[in-house]
Amino acid sequence: MAAALTSVREIERQMSELRAEPGAGAPYQRTSVMTHTAWVPEEWVEAAEDVLSGLAERHPSRTIVLIPQPNQEDGLDADVDVDVYPASEGRAICTETIRVRLKGRRAGAPASVVEPLLLPDLPAFLRWRGLPPFGETSFEGLVDVVDRLIVDSTEWPALPRSYRGLAEIFDRVIVSDIAWARTSRWRPQLASLWPRIAQVERIRVKGTAAQAHLLAGWLRSRLGRDVELEHDESDRLVGVELDGKAAPFPPGDAPGAADLLSEELDRFTRDRVYEDAVRAAVR
């Protein structure tokens, strides 16, 4: 690999060189519909790379992976990949991945690193791994430069308390939660139980804590009254009981991680139903 790049200017230069790389029949066409930024602390790097590699073909984009390394000496350290996919006869499209390691104090103001690298005029998404530090400048600054924040509250400790900080930023940025997407097969299934479900008082969820709290919050906010939650831990959603009675299992297979993120990247509008569910989950 080439020497690490240490400034935005070097990153820009490297990218334009890679795009013009001779060898392909025609010059690469940059195809992008968004900038996708991911905040990936060291412990998440492996999981994040897996998801990203499943994403590129479906969402041609520029991806900026930010890897905070606050315990190292101050500095930037980046590398750039341009991946080329054959599109049709003799043509190729490319997507760009920029990995930036933010060392020492550089990790404190990531927005100022991301902003020069955003593709002009296109939507910017931020995938935040783990529980965001609500209120801290590093996080708040990034929220201000993107259009949409994507989290997975499955990764969060201390639910439902942790939803409180999230509910406060709904007016500033559109939020997507992959944990919410993971309940998407179950919600129509439960909705089909109308009108009987209107009387439900207790919901028992066997799944992740995030799924349990979000489903309960959803029922509460939609029905406009309290519904009690019982939660059995499981790494995925395998069963829902309403007032002690098992709800029928929804059809089809649960979607994979890349599919879930991919679906969220297709949305542009606020999801009011989700926002209400989060608020009702905290109560």
């Binding site: 400034s7 935005v8 200017r9 820009e12 334009s16 795009r19 013009a20 001779p22 010059p27 690469y28 066409q29 940059r30 992008s32 519909v33 101050d74 930037l76 933010l102 104090r105 550089r106 990790a107 404190g108 103001a109 990531p110 927005a111 100022s112 690193v113 902003e115 020069p116 690298l117 955003l118 593709l119 002009p120 005029d121 296109l122 430069v145 297709d266 542009f268 509008t269």
Partner: protein
């Protein structure tokens, strides 16, 4: 008189324009510009064999230095800054014609010595008395150098005067400088540099507009909603405090680069691509611009903030800056070009230091489709069409269009069709100074600003600055690394618009 027959052997050969034999005299040869831009550009011209065979460069500056030291210093500059590989034979050929004269610009004897040296070179190399004088000197030295050059005008050959910005600091001073120039030089011999005009993408704006049939019919108030021009720099003032304190963004960028970009965007098609045809059209645009009211201009100054994750000082904390300085490092304005083509179409412009990224763009935002049947489905995904001209970095043009997302139903999303210079043409882009130095040697003033343009530009700046003297701005009003003061957003929000997103 003998009949001149065209050389039949040249038919079908691509004959490049080569300038006449000449001497380039650089005043201010020890300065940054000479090192960073002029010599790397000269080297690249030499590399492509675009310089005349009989050619010499004479550097003049105050620093004590001999010819060899000058050559050595410039060699290093070329090695570190030129865009082409360093080749000894190319450099040696260029270095052979290099001389250096240490002189104070107010010292007439020294300039006499210069005249002597130039005559010697004429005899030695056969440069025929042709001279290009490049003034890369502070305004204070301008007057005496121009007078001396005027007095030493030679009997044979042509002479041309290249003048770097700033050309004055207001209308009065610009006129004064011009009077001095006019006494000794004809306007056709004066080449005022605005290096933005030497950039490929700026010239491409002309190609885009006037070589394509599809844009010009919609390039007017009927189809264009508004135009946005951004000249953003992420750097601060570097070591130029003394100059910048006096100039501010309004004189550093607005007066020249920005108004030139605007003129090129708004001008009528010239009848041909000669210097006067193009400049006649540009000056008409500048004349058609009326002074924006105080509510249509926003000024700003940066405070502390972050650039690329690093904390940077506020403007008032920079070396050599007055801690109470009210110099503007940011200007945004709403301008109107009052003519048939553009009446009522706002041109929003903004420029500043310490903004989040380095970017110069011209964005033509077209009116929305009158009745999109997809309104509900498109939600926030659909933006109006925008034609974006990226002047730097990533030179190119892109067009934002609404397209259907593949799949069920009809989901519309904005996509960009990008034309990137780096990808479409494999040749490297010439630096602006290469083009401009060569054009001046050839006597082609198309890409240089004429005195009437300069005067119109100053009139506009003077009117804006006059309004500023009445109040004391609450500076700093934007942190480094952000897109300027909040009032700049309000400027557009009042019209129901917003700056292009980033």
């Amino acid at each position: 008189m003998a009949t001149t027959q065209e050389n039949p052997l040249l038919e079908g050969l691509q004959v490049r324009r080569t300038p006449d034999p000449c001497i380039l005299v650089i005043f201010g040869a020890s300065g940054d510009l000479t090192k960073r831009k002029l010599f790397p550009a000269l080297y690249s011209l030499a590399f492509r064999r675009l310089l005349p065979e009989k050619f010499a460069v004479v550097g003049v500056a105050r620093t004590e230095e001999n010819d060899d030291e000058f050559r050595e210093r410039m060699k290093e500059a070329v090695q570190s800054s030129a865009r082409d590989e360093f080749r000894d034979d190319v450099w040696e050929a260029l270095a052979e014609g290099m001389r250096y004269i240490a002189a104070d610009f107010n010292d007439h004897d020294a300039l006499n010595r210069l005249a002597g040296t130039l005559t010697e070179i004429d005899e030695e190399l056969g440069t025929e008395g042709n001279r290009v004088y490049y003034l890369a000197i502070p305004p204070s030295a301008f007057e005496s150098v121009v007078r001396d050059l005027g007095e030493h005008s030679q009997a044979t050959g042509w002479r041309r005067l290249i003048v770097e910005k700033p050309f004055g600091h207001d209308l009065t001073s610009a006129r004064h400088l011009n009077e001095i120039v006019e006494e000794h030089f004809d306007e056709s011999e004066v080449f005022r540099i605005d290096h933005y005009l030497g950039k490929e993408t700026v010239q491409n704006m002309l190609a885009l507009r006037f070589a394509n049939g599809i844009f010009e019919p919609i390039w007017n108030r009927q189809f264009v909603d508004h135009v946005q021009i951004t000249v953003a720099e992420s750097i601060g003032i570097e070591a130029r405090a003394q100059y910048y304190e006096q100039a501010g963004a309004i004189r550093d960028i607005f007066q020249n680069h920005l108004l030139q970009l605007l003129a090129i965007t708004a001008m009528e098609p010239p009848i041909d691509f000669t210097a006067d045809s193009v400049r006649n059209e540009k000056v008409k645009v500048l004349r058609a611009m009326h002074t924006p009211g105080p509510k249509s201009v926003v000024r700003g100054q940066y405070g502390r903030g972050y650039i690329e994750g690093e904390e940077v000082a506020g403007y008032r904390e920079e070396d050599g800056v007055d801690p109470q300085s009210t110099t503007d490092t940011y200007v945004a304005a709403k301008l109107y070009v009052d003519n048939w083509r553009w009446a009522d179409t706002p041109f929003y412009v903004r420029m500043g230091k310490r903004l989040p990224r380095r970017e110069t763009t011209i964005a033509i935002e077209f009116k929305r489709a009158p009745h999109p049947p997809f309104e509900e489905l498109a939600a926030e995904g659909l933006q109006p069409n925008v034609l974006l001209v990226h002047v730097q970095p990533d030179e190119g043009v892109s067009l934002a269009i609404g397209a259907k997302v593949p799949g069920q139903g009809i989901n519309i999303r904005t996509v960009h069709m990008d034309f990137l210079y780096g990808g479409a043409f494999r040749t490297g882009l010439p630096e602006a100074y290469e083009r401009l130095i060569l054009d001046a040697m050839l006597g082609d003033a198309t890409l240089f600003t004429r005195i009437d343009e300069v005067e119109e530009q100053w009139k506009l700046v003077d009117a804006i600055v006059a309004a500023w003297s009445r109040d004391r701005p609450a500076f700093p009003n934007y942190p480094a690394g952000t897109w300027g003061p909040p009032s700049a957003n309000e400027l557009l929000a009042r019209d129901g618009r917003s700056w292009r997103r980033h």
